[in-house]
Amino acid sequence: MSVLATDGRQLSTGDERRLVTDGPRVTPDDILQTAARLRREVGQGFHEQLMADMYADAAQLAGRAVTQPGEAQRFDLDRAIDRIVTSRLWGFPLMILLFTLVFWITIAGANIPSQWLSSLLIGVVYPWLNSAAAAIGVPGWLSGLLIDGVYLATAWVVSVMLPPMAIFFPLFTLLEDFGYLPRVAFNLDNAFRKSGAHGKQALSMMMGFGCNAAGVVATRVIDSPRERIIAMITNNFALCNGRWPTQILIATIFIGGLVPAWLAGFVSAAAVVSIAVLGVAFTFGVSWFLSRTMLRGEVSTFSLELPPYRPPRIRQTIVTSLIDRTIYVLWRAVVFAAPAGAVIWLIANVTIAGQPIAVYLVNFLNPFGLLLGLNGVILLAYVVAIPANEIVIPTVLMLTVLLTGASGIDSGAGVLVQTNSNATILSVLGAGGWTLLTGVNLMLFSLLHNPCSTTIYTIYKESGSKKWTAVAALLPLAMGLIVTFVVAQVWRLVGI
């Protein structure tokens, strides 16, 4: 610490003297000293004066260049649309209608290509690959690892993920290009503000219903640091595409089975929707919690521009959203699913003392799983399915068949299986000791667990922070463990 207090003014006079004697030489330090002194002289309002000067000139120049020869427009279409889509009466119904439509088109439209892809990739290509491998004499363990493991897992992910995403993302992008989405953020901001979040989180959340990784990328439009991290961490509570099939299947088998057949469809659909709504509730609750605890010190700002409406260019939109979102997300999923397929095949087929590794793992996890109202198979499936939620159900079925020797599944044990018959699945799961509690808790756990590795990686890339990535991965998992544990204990206490 220097002992003498020196005044900036004295220093710079000294420099000026040196300037005169040494000729025109000014060092960077001189300049910085002068700047420091002048900065104190011009005072605090400098930045604002600068902005004011800029805008004054801009206004002057614009005023000279722009003329409006005709009368001002009589009818402002943008405003007219805005009045309707943000009105108290029509704002929310229109929004619900539009998004229901988008989801309905996605679900209805994806069904057929999904089945078609799966019968092609698994029904046709898979046996062909097997026979081709046998014909050229590939050793059994290698063809098992590559075809039963890597190929089958990848094929599963592609056939489940590709069709809905190829429909959902372009539809969403069309709404985005039209300019409707900022209005959604405008309408919903009030609710998000109360939980310490940004209205634009509505959109990353909506995108999360398609794919959480894409939802995390979509948080880029949130320009406030605190709210963006909140949106990233809570995106996982939006039930993604890869988890819908699990929810629908389990709801149909376990909850639909409780009521008469004519009610079954409605009740199981209601069960799935309530899980999705629960996810939204968790989004708000966790946002509220984070903004008041861990994220209290992060900067928070708000501004939301409502851009003019523009007619979307349909062809280009479809192409760009396919490239930007669908293919991008699919590629990442495949990259992560392929090794997972290999791991699943290995644990099911490599034996120690006559037993597959999977059996040891399941037996090890089983007591813990039962405590949560789940079982060892489910926990193991979630461990190996970290890369992609789509393969949870096939893995669960495969492991159950492997452990119980239940019949009715056409493929051999130790291979990811698929079947379209719910009765078969029920009998397999029944043999595995599943109850209604297992089904309900599986639905809860499917909502509340760590994001898939694609999403975790995306959060890391987008946030650039190991800390927030860890929170995003572990917080939902901890919540899932707590919720399933509490449900299981209460369930058993009440004795349903």
């Binding site: 960077p28 700047a35 002289e41 000067d53 800029m54 000139d57």
Partner: protein
């Protein structure tokens, strides 16, 4: 002085019918996509959010960058390339920002590229329907560099809402070429490329309009600092702007002054001028 390029432009209404067709290939444009080896000139693409910057970028490079109707879509910078008039251009799409004076990450990325990336030309895409708001950014870019072209985009929307923008008057006032375009319809891109080419090759030298501060004390302080900067870094093209940034306590500019990186900018500029002459 009068920018010749913009005076030569045909009025937008006369744009030929095939200009709106996506297959139309203006002039000698050859799109290169991401192939950007051995470029001759580097172009920066700046602009407010949601003014069709990415559309201009895609039209020039043939790339399909997503262009959502969402303010602040391009967060990282995208790069592409094209060939025009025998020269290879690399074009960098900067994040859309309202200003270059604040410290948000987007603005810093954009500002640093225009200042330290030394692009041969900076295209500022402005929205013809909201000229005043957009000129704010254009003026900030012109304070940094005189090698700029204003792309007056969305003139079709302006026409629809009954606004006429006098691009020649604007060009005269700003001292750099102003080219009216409607990038979604591929209108005006040929003229834009011609103007970019003129500035890149040095056939056109801009005399940009620079904002003078209104407050008396500020003016004096800026003058004093500008004089010192001009002595220390002769040939610095934007001493006045650097002085303003120093007074505003801009960390990266202070660092550039201290490290002497700023001096290199001036040096480069002098060499460029000599080559041009």
């Amino acid at each position: 002085m009068t920018p010749t390029t913009s005076d030569r432009q045909p009025p937008m209404i006369d744009a030929s019918a095939c200009a709106g067709c996506p297959m139309h290939n203006p002039g000698q444009l050859q799109r290169l996509g991401v192939d950007m080896t051995d470029w001759d000139y580097v172009i920066a693409l700046a602009g407010n959010p949601n003014v069709g910057k990415s559309t201009v970028f895609n039209a020039l490079t043939g790339l399909r960058q997503h262009t959502g109707n969402w303010p602040g879509k391009t967060v990282t910078r995208a790069e592409g390339g094209f060939v025009y008039d025998g020269a290879r251009y690399k074009i960098v799409d900067l994040p859309g920002t309202y200003s270059l004076l604040s410290t948000s990450l987007d603005e810093q990325v954009a500002r640093d590229f225009i200042l330290f990336g030394r692009p041969d030309v900076t295209i500022v895409v402005v929205d013809a329907t909201r000229l005043e708001r957009n000129l704010n950014l254009a003026l900030q870019v012109l304070a940094i560099t005189d090698r700029a072209v204003i792309c007056l985009n969305l003139v079709d929307e302006a026409e629809r809402s009954g606004l006429l923008v006098d691009d020649r008057r604007l060009a005269r006032d700003l001292g750099v070429p102003v080219v009216p375009t409607a990038a979604r319809q591929n209108r005006g891109l040929d003229e834009l490329l011609a103007a970019v080419n003129e500035v890149a090759t040095g056939r056109f030298v801009g005399r940009p309009h620079r904002v003078q501060s209104q407050a008396a004390g500020v003016g004096r302080a800026v003058d004093e600092l500008t004089a010192q900067l001009a002595t220390a870094f002769p040939g610095l093209p934007n001493a006045r702007w650097v002085a303003l940034r120093l007074l505003d306590g801009d960390e990266s500019i202070i660092r550039a002054v201290r490290s002497g990186e700023l001096g290199e900018l001036g040096h480069q500029e002098q060499i460029m001028l000599e080559v041009v002459r």
